[in-house]
């Protein structure tokens, strides 16, 4: 049997996982707190896209535009959350921050139901991206290619941001040692707010780009957050590239298991996660495990 099709489809799946988890990885790396509300940011990104685009003849350009708009909308929401809630959590041990982010997750999940209603909503694929292309011997959804392209753009943009700007330097310093960074005179709350803006923006884009491939239901916020955390932790804490590798590894493993061992496919994701973390507790590219309690 040819293993290539399942690897390719796993790659597309992994890219989507990465887009969902990328914002979380940035926030987690820099601020060391467990942002469960990230799931709601992701979901609201998807729902906003529904509002922006559902009545239009959707083209790829429109989708990208809608995704950017959704990203901006969610970035604003993340900023407000930072000011009202998250700011109080940085001083606490990471696990203590769970109360605040979980509460925010519930609040936003409730808000989604009240604003968008109980129906499952869906966003169509953009014209020209609703089919497959043949690459070699494998049919690949065009939309997966878009996801891969966006994933690459996100990686490049984040690399430039983190390594070529002064903000990036501050963010990396923050990730290394929060207290020391503060002592060096960096405006911590300003940097934190910017990190949340970036994280929210990525979550919004992730939600927007996932929207055509999923059902928008009121429980969307809770259904993806665990997988996103898994990607961040398996990748290695705070390692952006690690998250990318982890997303692809988890996506491809799941895909291959579904094809060859369908009876255990349900637990493939968690079994892979379990095994990787036992053999490499710091994650694929991580330096050390974060003490969270």
């Amino acid at each position: 049997m040819n293993v290539l099709p399942s690897i390719v489809s796993g790659l597309g799946d992994g890219m989507l996982l990465f887009l969902i988890a990328s914002g979380l990885s940035v926030i987690f790396g820099a601020m060391r707190f467990l942002n469960f509300a990230h799931g709601a940011f992701f979901a609201i990104g998807g729902y906003l896209t529904y509002n922006f685009l559902s009545n239009l003849q959707l083209t790829p350009v429109l989708l990208i535009g809608g995704a950017l708009l959704a990203g901006l909308g969610v970035a604003v929401l993340a900023y407000v959350s930072e000011v009202v809630v998250f700011r109080r959590l940085y001083k606490l041990p990471p696990i203590d921050s769970l109360l605040g982010t979980y509460a925010l997750l519930l609040l936003l999940e409730g808000a989604i139901l009240v604003v968008w209603g109980p129906n499952s909503l869906s966003v169509p694929y953009p014209k020209g991206l609703n089919s497959t292309v043949r690459i070699g011997s494998v049919d690949v959804p065009q939309y997966s290619l878009l996801l891969i392209a966006v994933g690459v753009i996100v990686v490049v943009a984040m690399t430039l941001l983190l390594y070529k700007t002064s903000l990036g330097l501050e963010v990396r310093a923050l990730a290394e040692d929060r207290t020391m960074t503060q002592l060096l005179g960096v405006n911590i709350s300003g940097v934190s707010a910017k990190v949340m803006l970036i994280g929210g923006f990525l979550a919004g884009i992730g939600g927007a780009l996932a929207a055509p491939t999923i059902a928008l239901t009121p429980d969307l916020a809770t259904s993806f957050i665990i997988q996103a955390f898994a990607v961040v932790v398996v990748g290695g804490l705070g390692s952006f590239y690690g998250a990318l590798i982890a997303a692809v590894v988890l996506g491809v493993t799941q895909s291959v298991v579904v094809t060859y061992l369908p009876s255990v496919s349900g637990i493939a994701f968690y079994a892979t996660m379990f095994a990787i973390l036992l053999f490499r507790p710091q994650g694929i590219l991580g330096k050390s495990s974060l003490d969270i309690s």
């Binding site: 009202v84 809630v85 109080r88 606490l92 990471p94 696990i95 203590d96 769970l98 109360l99 605040g100 979980y102 509460a103 925010l104 997750l105 519930l106 609040l107 936003l108 999940e109 409730g110 808000a111 139901l113 009240v114 809770t222 665990i226 955390f229 898994a230 932790v233 398996v234 804490l237 349900g266 637990i267 968690y270 079994a271 996660m273 379990f274 973390l277 036992l278 507790p281 710091q282 994650g283 495990s289 974060l290 003490d291 969270i292 309690s293």
Partner: protein
């Protein structure tokens, strides 16, 4: 900042209440005695009443025990488990599977034993990791059990297993069983952290490097804490099964691992009474506020956030908080009106 006040400044007149409140601790003792008397009276009336005891209170008690078990991990042993539902659910299923063949006490015992053994097996692998990795290893394990249970005919799949009490056990006597088990469970935790083993676990939490340098096997002590927590969670799960009358796979789902953590944090983790207060508060919030309304989650989330903002150290910090505020009142002169206005 610390809120600890050794001696309130002597001010007379209308502000003397605050001095009484901050310095005189007798009222605390009186409050405790009153609470204990009320609790015993409530337990007895429920047990002797014709109508079955309140299901809600039973569930609150089960959650207290469950949160207590989780607090061993996140509050005392420095093991942030996100997969405690694995043991809660295992206890629940074990109880439902065994109650057909054995009496209630044996069934509860088996639930404790099975979850304790499972905790030992997982602990042998997982306790070697720590921090966020430990959280995710336990999470992954819990989710695997959840998915296996939802797909297993042996445990009834998504329709679950019935867990009906034997006919000779009346709801009133089961009420006493719950009260007894939860009290015993809490007592075990209280006692455990006053034994040398428990104190060593706390010492490892506070300074793991020092503990290792003294030649203490941190692994063994953490594993002990993990197994005790797993066994207690199993007991909570078994009680839950009989109180509800049915066990479904959602007893194993990750949100059920998250809830007790929220309870500990809401009450105040690292404190004995934290999970108790937190379990009562969160269960009340989740089950009594905004029920039947579409905005239910908005209320719950909003209230939790307000508590977090006003009391970042949890509900148990209310007295300290009041002392803090009242000390500000007493110490701030009439000139310092801006501060007072900010209250």
């Amino acid at each position: 900042m610390s809120g600890k006040l050794t001696k309130a400044p002597t001010t007379g007149g209308p502000r003397s209440w605050s001095r009484w409140f901050t310095t005189d601790r007798r009222w605390v003792k009186m409050l405790w005695i009153a609470a204990a008397v009320l609790a015993i009276a409530y337990v007895v009336t429920q047990a002797t009443s014709e109508t079955p005891p309140s299901f809600f209170v039973e569930i609150v008690l089960v959650q207290v025990l469950y949160a207590m078990s989780v607090n061993i991990l996140i509050g005392y042993a420095h093991l942030p488990s996100f997969g405690q539902a694995a043991f809660f659910g295992t206890g629940a299923y074990a109880a439902a599977l065994t109650i057909q063949g054995v009496p209630l006490y044996a069934s509860l015992f088996l639930a404790v034993a099975v979850s304790g053994i499972l905790a030992l097996l997982l602990g042998l692998l997982a306790v070697r990791t720590s921090g966020i990795t430990f959280a995710n290893v336990t999470l992954a394990f819990g989710q695997m059990l959840y998915l296996i249970a939802a797909n297993s005919d042996l445990v009834g799949g998504e329709n679950g297993l019935l867990a009906s009490l034997p006919s000779q056990v009346s709801p009133q006597s089961f009420w006493l069983v719950i009260v007894g088990c939860v009290t015993a469970g809490c007592a075990v935790v209280w006692w455990m952290f006053r034994t040398p083993t428990g104190e060593t676990i706390l010492a490892i939490r506070d300074n793991p490097e020092r503990a290792s340098s003294l030649g203490i096997s941190t692994f063994r002590y953490r594993l002990t804490a993990f197994v005790v927590a797993g066994a207690l969670a199993g007991l909570a799960g078994a009680l839950y099964a009989f109180a509800t009358g049915i066990v479904t796979a959602d007893t194993l789902y990750w949100t059920r691992s998250g809830e007790p953590i929220i309870m500990c944090l809401l009450g105040g983790s690292k404190k004995f009474f934290g999970p108790i207060i937190g379990a009562v508060a969160l269960t009340t919030l989740l089950q009594q506020v905004g029920q039947g309304s579409t905005s239910y989650l908005i209320y719950v989330g909003g209230i939790l956030l307000i508590v977090l903002i006003l009391l970042p150290q949890g509900l148990l910090s209310i007295p300290a908080r009041i002392r803090q505020i009242s000390s500000r009142w007493t110490s701030s002169g009439p000139s310092d009106t801006t501060k007072a206005a900010a209250l």
